[in-house]
Assembly symmetry: C2
Homo-oligomer: 179 residues x 2
DNA sequence: TTGATTGCAAAGCATTTGCATGCTA
DNA sequence: TAGCATGCAAATGCTTTGCAATCAA
């Protein structure tokens, strides 16, 4: 209870100072303008540690200001990406998700095709081998994305339990395709 | 010249025997029907060693039979994927590409964000590390896709040459996004 | 005041679906 | 003959764009 209040209050005031500064700096450098909508969208985005689609974020923002339009959310997420605060992620269902980028380590994703759970992981060895690979082809890498699709531990357990019978539905959250 | 003729004649007759058998088998097992369209689409697909979008393939097929519709190409590519002959690939521009899958080693892609060139590569070490990573998270992997975006050797060279001046346009083929 | 920003509606794209007609098994 | 396949047009889902009104600098 107390923790929640602090979190909410904090986020409305001195939390995410650094990110907000970066955003303002980017806006000014680009000759753009600070607006209430952009502030709110950034605020809600930073407050939510998750993979958010533009629509997800739109609904969260709606709750605090019903006058903000979808378009503005789309446009602001692009802006946040340019500013280095957000990173686009394709999880495989056709839409674009965004995750925090500033002050967050680079990482890759494992995506459960049963329940949609997304596991973040990082492997310095894999990164290293990728760079070696690129060098071998005289290729100068700028970004990369590694996605592993499969079944998470939880869903494997469920599968085992249901292996006898029952018409239970899978807990589908993200509809992923094979690639 | 002779080589080309042989290639063309071959492809119309005894070439790709194995793939065609697999296709027929899949069709029969699934209670589906063999049609002229499906035959032609498979033929053209097999003949083209490249990453093809549904539309790319549609135009190639059009040249040989203008009566084939886009929809059928879409549907047949799905079929080929199910049969294990094709593999869906997302290169990052929003559309779905297909590549040969049967008798082709698994591989990953480096994509040049300047010219769209796609380099295929394979690293057993990376694969191995991925499996280790998955195991660590009790995750049962089924597929994965690794994309490295960057600048290919050719485009690096061009960049160097143009580094002084000139308003030359990049040779954009595939419009890729960051992730 | 000026030009960036917003939100709505409309447009774009790639892909999928409904359905009457055509064809395979 | 039954019912899968086809191709057109229309629908879908996500995202972008045009534009008049609004607002920050």
């Amino acid at each position: 209870m107390v923790k929640e209040m602090v979190a909410v209050m904090g986020s409305k005031t001195e939390e995410f100072k650094e990110e907000k500064e970066i955003f303002l700096e980017h806006i000014q450098k680009s000759g753009l303008r600070r607006t209430a909508q952009r502030d709110l969208i950034l605020e809600v985005f930073l407050r939510t540690e998750d993979h958010l689609s533009s629509e997800d974020l739109y609904w969260l923002v709606q709750k605090e200001d019903p006058n903000v339009g979808q378009t503005t959310v789309y446009r602001t997420l692009k802006l946040l990406t340019e500013a280095g605060l957000a990173r686009e992620v394709r999880l495989g269902d056709g839409r674009t998700y965004y995750e925090h980028h500033f002050d967050h380590e680079h990482h890759d994703h494992m995506i459960c095709t049963e329940c949609g759970e997304v596991i973040e992981f990082f492997s310095a060895e894999i990164e290293e081998l990728q760079d070696q690979m690129a060098e071998k082809f005289n290729f100068k890498p700028t970004h990369h994305s590694l996605r592993i699709l499969g079944i998470c531990g939880e869903c494997q357990k469920l599968e085992r339990e249901q292996s006898v019978a029952s018409g239970a539905q899978p807990r589908v959250r993200v509809k992923t395709t094979l690639n």
